[in-house]
Symmetry: C2
Subunit: 650 residues, 2 copies
Amino acid sequence: MPTVTFHPAGRSATVPVGASLLDAAAAAGVILTAPCGGEGVCGECRARVTSGTVERVARGGLSPEEITQGWVLACSSRVIGDAGIEVPAEKPVGPAQIITAGVEPASGRAAGGRAATGEPRIVKRAMKVPAPVLGQSQSDLDRLAHAVRGSGGPGTLVAGLDTLRELAAALRESDGHVTVSITPPDSDGCAEVVRIEPGDATGCQVGLAIDVGTTTCAVSLVDLVRQHVLGTAADYNGQLARGADVISRINFARTPERLAELRGLVLNTINGLIGDLCAHHAVEPTQIDNAAMAGNTTMIHLLLGLNPDFIRLEPYTPTVNRTPPLRGGDVGLTMNPAGLVLFAPGVGSYVGGDITAGLLSTALARPNEDVRLFLDIGTNGEVVVGNGEWLMACAASAGPAFEGSGVRCGMRASHGAIERVRIDAATGNVVINVIGGGRPTGICGSGMIDLLAELWEAGLLDPAGKLNPAAGSDRIGPAPGGGRNLACTVVPAENSKTGAAISLDERDIQNLLRTKAAVYSACAIMLKSVGLDFDAIKEVCVAGGFGRFLDLEKSIRIGLLPDLPLERFTYLGNSALSGATAMLCHPQARECVNEIARRITYLELNVDPAYMSEYTAALFLPHTDLNRFPTVKAALAARSCRSVGPPWPT
Amino acid sequence: MPTVTFHPAGRSATVPVGASLLDAAAAAGVILTAPCGGEGVCGECRARVTSGTVERVARGGLSPEEITQGWVLACSSRVIGDAGIEVPAEKPVGPAQIITAGVEPASGRAAGGRAATGEPRIVKRAMKVPAPVLGQSQSDLDRLAHAVRGSGGPGTLVAGLDTLRELAAALRESDGHVTVSITPPDSDGCAEVVRIEPGDATGCQVGLAIDVGTTTCAVSLVDLVRQHVLGTAADYNGQLARGADVISRINFARTPERLAELRGLVLNTINGLIGDLCAHHAVEPTQIDNAAMAGNTTMIHLLLGLNPDFIRLEPYTPTVNRTPPLRGGDVGLTMNPAGLVLFAPGVGSYVGGDITAGLLSTALARPNEDVRLFLDIGTNGEVVVGNGEWLMACAASAGPAFEGSGVRCGMRASHGAIERVRIDAATGNVVINVIGGGRPTGICGSGMIDLLAELWEAGLLDPAGKLNPAAGSDRIGPAPGGGRNLACTVVPAENSKTGAAISLDERDIQNLLRTKAAVYSACAIMLKSVGLDFDAIKEVCVAGGFGRFLDLEKSIRIGLLPDLPLERFTYLGNSALSGATAMLCHPQARECVNEIARRITYLELNVDPAYMSEYTAALFLPHTDLNRFPTVKAALAARSCRSVGPPWPT
């Protein structure tokens, strides 16, 4: 079998003839992201053949010049013999990182105004189990059940095998003093022991809140006794190597083996984060009895190994919207295998548990009459409008640009990310803020929004998203990789951490414009469908992984958010994660999220013929109809903004 | 590492220096039974070193002559270099075999007189699930739950991951016509789908009844729709290689690895039987949703991987008596992993679910005032006395002799076993019946009882169990393997199927006497403890794997059973298996067996000082006190029976 060696990493893999270069890279442990799922469309998995030859199946978007230089698309090239392959500098995927600590879960809001009792799904009870007596022929489980009843616990006790296997030793280790983790009793008064520990261990109970994002996964380790988030870690979803958006992933998962691969990739990501958090906080993962998970419908299907195909096909039917509670071991999480995993309920194929959980952090979860708009700008854009009485939701194919995927120097909001950008109008100097300080490795969502707005305001970018070489800035030049693309250098190579310049090219900008257009037009269509105007909106709740400092004014200026008074906006951050945290900590939040899911009416955007023209009109900065952005229009006039060309093509 | 080769099989294993010969034999796939669990006590694992040398750790019961000839105990010999080992002809372990077919489960009796509805634990429902509709955003599970409700099923439906993974395909394969296997709803009206099949599959539902015996495991495949036993298969418990009785097994299981080994061995045996039955009846094992299991407390602990150590140590406390229902996959059975396994409840460490299940086949399960005695003569002897109001139980360490273990030519009641023996008083000729006809391979329990009684009556055996060479029979001679032991040849080598003579030696006879003494004395002590006499017993129910034709008269003659009118005896056969079958088929049987377990008072025999003298007195044929066996005494007098010597030592 031929051997393929990838440079500069120097890693090799021996693969059968006919294997794709993408698979060879995966086998060699070299990450080549393929946002389109390996369909030969996006051109992101470019690599250059430096020795040997490969068979080209498709040329994708490669120019004749690039083809001459040896560039191929890894997904569309087959191994036919030994080869040396040079891959562009890998994407700056930041390491998993404890990005927040010491945060209180948003209990009051989630609990719908009622007092939070803080009882998690599985509770601990400490007790003394009397020693066995000769002739009474009581089993260990009988004695434990008796002690549980005596401590005011449920009347009947069952146990799974893992617990039964520990029982004899645990009862004898601490002279009968034990702590049991038990499910709440069913209406017959029967509960299950899922774990037994010697001694009194009620002072320590931790749980997991998990956000399974298409681009990024985040996990919080939560102290359930003190109702306190111990730490949060996030990382790119390992499935990124197999497609950037849900449709690419569904296409990739067309065989059981590939479905199993995607399941393994996301479990690896999440379990890696759990492992990091547990190590950092000295928690033994098997001590974790409770987890709450929020994710979009496709992500939950892939994580559970459920066939996602019918999510993609009309009439878009998932296997499950409200996933029943499952065991940690069945799900495959690094936790007590008998522990419970709760899932935020989904509403449909494209409005999932990430949205219902996200709504827990808003006033839409509470009874009130004010109409609010909820936007989740993740890999997909989901929009919800409604009040405490009714809710309507739709999904827009926004793309993961603001999460750092589909943008060459994009990255999630972690250490090394440029989170704020300002261009000095007088000098043209670029001032940046980097998360964690030091030299930057890439740009996160909030930085990209700043950059688009500042470039436009500085006259370096036209409303259609084309860079203006005539503006005379030395930051604008040909994009790396060739072609007719222009790029704007944000940080020159000598100042970046990777040694490569951090820049935004016109293809990146188009991706960002498509995302913001999808979100804005979905909001517009949604409001139109219920006969409301943006002005009727009391509050706009914005969720998404932009970073810590979303500049609302600039978000409006680029046309991502509607032009409303700034005080009407609330930035929620990762609301899916905070919703999962609330579900983990508060029984009321679990009730509330189910009630939200029942209340939501799902609007199929694809069937609305007006959507495409709304979308096309929103592909410009800020919009073809400037009257929709009166503040921006006024500012343009007042400040005689140096924007180049007409605001939209004539 | 040295290589050890076992003859005559010619199988080799390469093992580390210091490994026991027993482990080397296991590694080579050669079965050497070690009834004492490898403690160097029983002398059953004898083998002869023919080349190389091994290190002797203990000499066990070997004579100096045997040691000179190269005989060693495999359990107590360590490998120090290459060696050739000759093992005696392997025990005639019969293959798994369909020994019964077409039997109705004993439903009427088990159901306590009430009409049996025949509803198994998990039921099937067939229905049509309407196709999904665009815009309704119902998941597959939602639509299924709706259809289940529409068919009169439970109001709320949950599903495990295995079922969810099949759901999308199953709903689309037969145009929405599906059959679901669902648990009965809990009191909240919530049920779980454990399996989904396309089309109407309600006509076929099979279940497993499993008897986990210390010596023998038996499995019945039961048609739950027609309430009919399709077939039964039995085989020796694979754990026999690691000890013959429960105490040897518990001693063996002293490390987690060894416990796991025992678990694997018995699962192999049971799953082998399930596989045979399924193949024979063209049933896919994953279609089996229900199983009911009966076994003694130690067997259930070992099967489930529960630490059995505290069963052996005072105050004899098992982890569990009433094992909660478990999933097939958790137990490790070859069936639907999400299917349910029910366990017959145990009462104490030495009165287990085999006894409570066994009682289901007797009138003790029904309300009535007649006092009955229930004897289970398996590897342990358990005795229950009582009526429909009260029950008292005790355990005697009977030993597995009548199941064919601890008796050189003993075997279970399967093809090739001598099941009946008659010695012609005039000619001395031995007449035998062989199960399945043809040449015999060994003797089963009923054959051994016949043989003891006939030998004694023919004057070839004295009451203490010594063979009488002076009787002039050419069948009596030195036992194979040497020593001062005598043996009686039942079938000469040329007439046996194995090519080796089938004989009973004095050590075999002592094992049989110990077993019958343990059972009889336990009955006597038990009755004394409740102030009753044997005469007060309305019915004696005898369970055990003797075979099809237990000769009650001969069982009384050897002192195994009390001397009562023959019409008071009922032979139940494998009552644990028929009890498990009843539990599988009838909800009433499940209620009844739990009620029986609650009613039983457990008597600890070891703490009764009178037990040892009762036992010693019962070690003779039939007993030191002939007045307890008036029929036998009268027969001896009337027929001037040619028994040799005084009936007991003077």
